[in-house]
Assembly symmetry: C2
Homo-oligomer: 427 residues x 2
Amino acid sequence: MQQQRTHVVIIGGGFAGLYAAQALARQPVQVTLVDRKNHHTFQPLLYQVATAALSPADIASPIRGILRQYRNVNVLLGEAAGFDLAARRVRLKEGPDLGYDYLIVAAGAGHAYFGHDEWAPLAPGLKTLEDALEIRRRVLLAYELAERRAAAGGETEPLNFVIVGAGPTGVELAGALAEIAHQALVRDFRAIDPTQARIVLLEGGPRVLPSYPENLSRSAEAQLRKLSVEVRTSTLVTAVEPGAVRLGDEVLPASVALWAAGVKASPLGAMLGVPTDGAGRVFVEPDLSIPGHKEVFVIGDLAAAKDEKGNFLPGIAPVAVQQGRAVARAVVRDREKKPRQNFVYLNKGSLATIGRAAAVADLPGGLRLSGLIAWLAWLFVHIFFLIGFRNRVLVMIQWAWAYLTFQRGTRLITGSTERSDGSGPAA
Amino acid sequence: MQQQRTHVVIIGGGFAGLYAAQALARQPVQVTLVDRKNHHTFQPLLYQVATAALSPADIASPIRGILRQYRNVNVLLGEAAGFDLAARRVRLKEGPDLGYDYLIVAAGAGHAYFGHDEWAPLAPGLKTLEDALEIRRRVLLAYELAERRAAAGGETEPLNFVIVGAGPTGVELAGALAEIAHQALVRDFRAIDPTQARIVLLEGGPRVLPSYPENLSRSAEAQLRKLSVEVRTSTLVTAVEPGAVRLGDEVLPASVALWAAGVKASPLGAMLGVPTDGAGRVFVEPDLSIPGHKEVFVIGDLAAAKDEKGNFLPGIAPVAVQQGRAVARAVVRDREKKPRQNFVYLNKGSLATIGRAAAVADLPGGLRLSGLIAWLAWLFVHIFFLIGFRNRVLVMIQWAWAYLTFQRGTRLITGSTERSDGSGPAA
């Protein structure tokens, strides 16, 4: 049965892969979705795990559970290690090859450290639940170690949190860290004053949220400053060291440094043997297939796809979702002997949150919002798209709790409570 | 100010230490609570984290947050490394000594592997959030790896989960693992049948729940068998190996082995230089102080304290809570120049849960319950004593969700998805 049906293999259970699988459910094809993790992560809320507002299970669900009702969809925990496009086979790191009729590669992206991979342990990025828990651990531990040092009569120099990169993730992290310092922890410590903590947001370009219209960037920067975040634009990081970030001649102390600056596509893109851009993203055809292989699609953050004006599409969830659905449609149309359609991205707008009742929204038709109304739009959209009714209820309760009490509910340090590599001088 | 007041140092933020700190709050003393973790863990529900029913943050709270409103209580993240009882100082592993007028040692207990510490990585126990997450990872990964092997056309021998020790924790783990196999995962897999998984509960003594009355042990065993758990009493483990547990000549396959058999008190007990029992617990005086040092108390799982009949008290939460409050009273009475009172344990009964609507309760006055009514009592007591209103609400919602859907909400594998040491042959 399985062998006779058209077999679609999907690599990656992020937004792109998951929505492709759902769109192929109950179609007369057999689907196998392979992911290195057993769960889909709702990445837009990952920073809330990193900043102790939500638990991992609130924003992640087992892929197997999401797809359980679709009997034509199999899920495998595994890691793609290479392709044989001629033989139409995917090689898995553990276990045998997987044959396919169609291949959808949606392996996503990781962090780019501008050729300085040695900075990675010193300034972790935020792509996975593990990343988020590591950031949470470092941030909470910095306060604990400072309190211990101060209680022992030591010097009490203020904590410094440095975020490199002022895209949406950097802005969200900076805003949340400021709220932790000024609201959540304010009565928790005896020897240190958390409100003295310095939150510095560094951006190489001339403004925060570079992909947004200029007036929204200005609004976001004003909202960040209101939260006591120091915003420094046109500032290039020249080195990350244990306890400090170097900006040319200036040494900026960093109890904790976080990386939200660069993105590097999964190495699986290059393994397809077709041209990629500087970040390793695969140049795709208008139907999202790769040159010379109509049966192989690349979608999501791994794809360098263009909109109708010839601009490359950003690596955001709505693009991935629409691409996932589009390639599923292409497979179905092939089977129905209908011509494929080119992928057209329907821009529904962008939202970035900054803090409590602080956000910016860039909506279609030139509608631009900021402040409370943008924040309410952000809340609504994120609850709406979060996977699972249970998760939606739990997240709403926790947001309501946090809103009413100014508290963050998941301030747990799990893992080592020793100083980690590069978490700074707060030992 | 701090130096002039009587200074009480508490080592450990479990039930004993935390309730001692709360009972000393707003008294005219200065309190410093030291713990290696930043959070109090509600240990009675730890098995629900290990079996993917609850998130870590549902059953753990930052100690600093719990005690924030008590201005005379300081919390320090740190590890006690030794004592100078003559000078009345605690040595911390990192940082300087802490001087005290009163010392309350409530450092708890870990696992005992009967002199075979090499079994620990092969069969993890359940004392911390990290333990719980590791067990969850191993259990979920065993299913994933079996599915991958079976999907690749390999042999599909059933999974084997072996739990060593049938005290309350072992019984709870066995019941929960049976429910995962028979209910939560039943429609999730395509190549394997989770209901074929074998759950084996091993007990060295003649019956499960040895500390309960015999008829409740019989009831618990019957309820376990109804959940398809294989119960084997009077069975001694002679070795734990990768993928198997040895019972004399018999080799029992174990995709995952879990340890719930023995307890070993914190090594801090022995560092006090007073007599301890075989498990390292400190023999305490009737007022819970140690011989020769009225200003030093040992409470909770680290103490070998007796009830009025001369029987040693078990290492359970109600004993720890009552002891914590008792030593706080002793400190206050000393200051008021009143004589101390001997500690008397007020037995409010024991509850052990087995599964959905399955539990046993041994209540004062010879009242013994089992089945649904014991389970409802268990639910009520655990919600009631869980720390934090937010946690209570979240746990109730998740229990209701699990009850209605038979689902477990936190089936996340975080950390490595590679085979771990000794997690069995399911590679």
